[in-house]
Amino acid sequence: MDAIVELKNLRVEYRAPERGQGKKVAVKDLNLRVGAGEVFGFLGPNGAGKTTTMNVLLGFVNATSGAAYLFGVDVRQPISRQRIGYLPELTYYYKFLTAEELLRFYAKVFGIPRATAETRIERLLKLVELEQARKRPIRTYSKGMQQRVGLAQALINDPDLLILDEPTSGLDPLGRMKVREIIQRLKNEGKTVFFSSHELGEVETVCDRVAIIAQGELKVEGAVGELVTAHRANLEQIFLKLVGYTGAL
């Protein structure tokens, strides 16, 4: 199976902010593969290196050593991001734009023809239920609405790989259900989803495979069912054990 996401001995170091502390290793020799059509959960406690790994995949940060590939293309090439959609944890969009304008802007960045873009914008605004608010500036949106705009912009280019960072963070149960539905629908369409989340119950429901990292190192990787069977515990207990919480099992 061709890997959609591939990390080979990925290492990311950065200089510690405090003087005399030397270098800090955020990601230590991480090896990971995500196949096409998978829903892959990327789990770990705060500070484990999840965000840093995602930043490398998205080209925000350069790896100190090792390599990362999207669709077989080195992530340092901007073209590697042509077929991905990214939903950040916190919504960061131009507040002075309307939802429609934002989607149109990103469609232009992807080089999507105008007619196709307009059709897609209509569909996406309907999907995320922002039709009524499409002409209002984003700064007037609630947090939930901003998250939905984020989801819409992540889907504007009909991506083959969706990278989601805490996609249900800040959403009400209805919103979370919507996100789960979208992930399931994308999976049915053969898309790949790579997401990090602290909602382990949700991860257990939607993910095919998971990887758990802690302190920059990969602790375990595998299909959810297999992990649960092997450890004879639910995903949360496995997580707590692997990250060093001894009271877990």
Binding site: L58, G59, F60, V61, P78, I79, S80, R81, Q82, I84, Y86, P88, L90, Y92, Y93, Y94, K95, F96, L97, E101, F105, Y106, K108, V109, F110, G111, G150, Q153, N157, I163
Partner: protein, 259 residues
């Protein structure tokens, strides 16, 4: 090119949705109209002082808009973290720099059109003549100068800690070049070595923004600057812009996106 123009469009939208331009334009218009309403010895044909003052206000306003708008582009992208979803698309950092430059430049250009239209109407109402070629030339040269300023400020926004410090330093540098740039060689000749050499080197290195200031020619109804010279000045500006944007890219590509 699509990406660059899309980014430019965002900057233009931002400018006309903020109040900066409207405030500056209204101030310019009010001050000029007030001055125009003053009666000097019952002579309503006096027009040059009005043109002079109006053009000065246009220059100051355009510089304010250019510097303030450019100074906040990249820091704001990083501070509001909109840079992340942007760079998660197939967008390079070079495209971001170039897109921001064109956005600021086109936005300022649109502002200049409005200012010069106002100026033409005001001057024409007194003068009863409309030397459009002169006005177009003055606008074009000013716009070319502002391209260099914008590119410099974009570089400054990656070097200096805050937009406010970048803006202040940029204003001082630009004002210094406009007022003194022409005379630095004279100043150099009056200095002892090694200051003489230093000042002379500075004289050759700085972009000579004062060439583009032909307000006097417009106010005093002088002939057009030869278009060939205009073309050379535009080329000079283009070279400086390319250099400054390249330097900005060199800095930006290594800069961490997190503060």
């Amino acid at each position: 090119m699509n990406t660059v123009m899309a980014l430019a469009g965002i900057v233009i939208k931002e400018l006309y949705r903020r109040k900066d331009f409207y405030v500056v334009f209204v101030l310019t218009a009010v001050m000029t109209l007030l001055l125009g309403s003053v009666n000097f010895f019952h002579d309503d044909k006096i027009v040059r002082y009005l043109k002079d003052v109006c053009l000065l206000l246009i220059w100051v306003s355009a510089l304010v808009i250019a510097i303030v708008t450019s100074a906040r582009q990249l820091p704001m992208e990083r501070e509001s973290r909109t840079i992340f979803p942007l760079l998660a698309k197939p967008v390079t950092r070079a495209q971001v720099i170039v897109g921001k430059f064109f956005g600021c430049w086109f936005a300022v250009g649109l502002g200049l059109l409005v200012f010069y239209f106002f100026f033409a109407v005001l001057a024409g109402s007194r003068d009863h003549r409309w030397p459009l070629a002169e006005y177009i030339q003055a606008l074009w040269l000013q716009w070319s100068m502002l391209a260099m300023v914008i590119a410099g400020v974009l570089l400054g926004s990656l070097v200096f800690a805050a937009p406010s410090s970048n803006s202040t330093i940029s204003f001082v540098v630009v004002a210094g070049i406009l007022l003194l740039g022409r005379h630095l060689n004279q100043v150099a000749l009056q200095q002892p070595e090694p200051l003489k050499t230093l000042v002379y080197v500075l004289y050759f290195v700085i972009p000579h923004l004062e060439w583009y200031d032909i307000r006097d020619r417009v106010s005093f109804d002088q002939a057009l600057v030869p278009w060939a010279d205009c073309g050379l000045a535009t080329l000079y500006a283009a070279v400086y812009v390319a250099f400054l944007l390249f330097a900005a890219w060199l800095v930006f590509r290594r800069k961490p996106l997190n503060q």
